[in-house]
Symmetry: C2
Subunit: 235 residues, 2 copies
């Protein structure tokens, strides 16, 4: 028989308190001393339970301030078709996207390689900020091959959805050819735009979208607020 792991019972009990709404997102949990008294165990056991919950993303420990219930992150599928508006609606959130800038310029080497054009060829570059229920969750930056999508500057202004803008330019469908995921600390500009503290963790995805003939039509980088989004991989 396995040893009874007391901390798992405490972790389960506190997880249940969060699930039933006794403690909501952003709420501070009772102190270790209070939890020790409530469960009749020593502080080490409480700490082990809280550590386990933190590792599972349920709570965040802020040094000197206490342990707080994590916000419920938006689940964001990275599948064959990555669609911001559809993903957000499927997660029960109201999607919003604001175009911060768009500009036609020359492709750098990396962009050219991803889009299979020549370095220096024109690309339409854009920057967006995406929101869920009004809260910023991601910064986007992407380039389209300008020669292939001549109507895109106007379409991007007219539609908040990239999918709708591409459809207006004759690209009725597109799929994700590849995605790479890394973790970074928010720069001061990113933190300000996402309303996060400086140095908050960000998930960064880089992806290439291709049209049905396999031609790259977008190379994009998205920075997701790490505690507001969970990427889910369809396998």
């Amino acid at each position: 028989m396995p040893r009874p792991a007391l901390w798992t019972a405490i972790s389960d009990s506190l997880t249940g308190d969060i699930a039933t709404g006794r403690y909501g997102p952003g709420d501070k949990l009772p102190t270790e001393a209070d939890l020790s008294a409530r469960f009749g165990v020593n502080r080490h056991t409480v700490r082990r339970a809280l550590q386990h919950m933190a590792e599972n993303g349920l709570v965040n420990a802020r040094r000197g301030a206490g342990v707080f219930v994590a916000a419920c992150p938006t689940e964001y599928p990275i599948g064959q078709r990555v669609r911001f508006h559809r993903n957000l609606r499927a997660a029960g959130r109201v999607p919003g996207r604001e175009l911060l800038m768009s500009d036609t310029r020359s492709a750098d080497r990396e962009e050219a390689q991803a889009l299979r054009i020549a370095p220096g060829d024109p690309v339409l570059a854009y920057e967006t900020i995406a929101t869920a229920d009004g809260e910023p969750i991601a910064l986007g930056e992407g380039v389209f091959p300008a020669a292939r999508l001549p109507g895109m500057p106007e379409a991007l202004q007219a539609h908040s959805s990239v999918t709708a803008a591409l459809a207006a330019c004759g690209v009725a469908d597109y799929t994700r050819a590849s995605t790479r995921v890394t973790a970074h600390l928010a720069t001061p500009t990113q933190a300000r735009r996402l309303r996060l503290p400086d140095g908050a963790p960000l998930l960064r995805t880089t992806g290439v979208n291709v049209d049905p003939s396999g031609q790259p039509i977008e190379y994009g980088i998205t920075w997701f607020a790490g505690d507001r989004v969970t990427l889910t991989l369809e396998q």
Copy 2:
């Protein structure tokens, strides 16, 4: 015609310097003033080029210290079969994995749900540290359903590869049923084990592996050092 973007030429030139080894991983780039002089442009243009390179993960800006060439991260595919040793060898790295602990205990609710067993059923829990060319790149924590894999405690001690340990217990193949990816800051313990600064960004994956009949045989969490690993999704 697109406006000539001077900063892309500077970014390309510095990227070329890194590719050819003029600046190696960990090297400090010249100051903004030096780069302004070298390229004959103003500092704003240099800053835009460096910002673009930082966003692409090529360099890291450390406040007050300068801009440094990023280490070349290990590419780690998250596909249908996630295999640590095979992934590392495919990336040209020497894989290493050390078992920090293993212990049979009761499953908590989340583990029980992932493994489709009852809460309180016994699980074999383990913790590992994984290295690439001797450098720590990831911390792993997982649970196996103990009743289904009675020989696993000994197999895990005997094999540094989970795949080999599972094979020794009669599980010849397993596939990844689902993966979730989030970003977090390293706790002091995680930072020490991974030889990273406190608060460094980590990529956290949670995944369920299933045997050929679809039975869950492992629920695992891995924390990857954000600047040492790039997760690549096969699509």
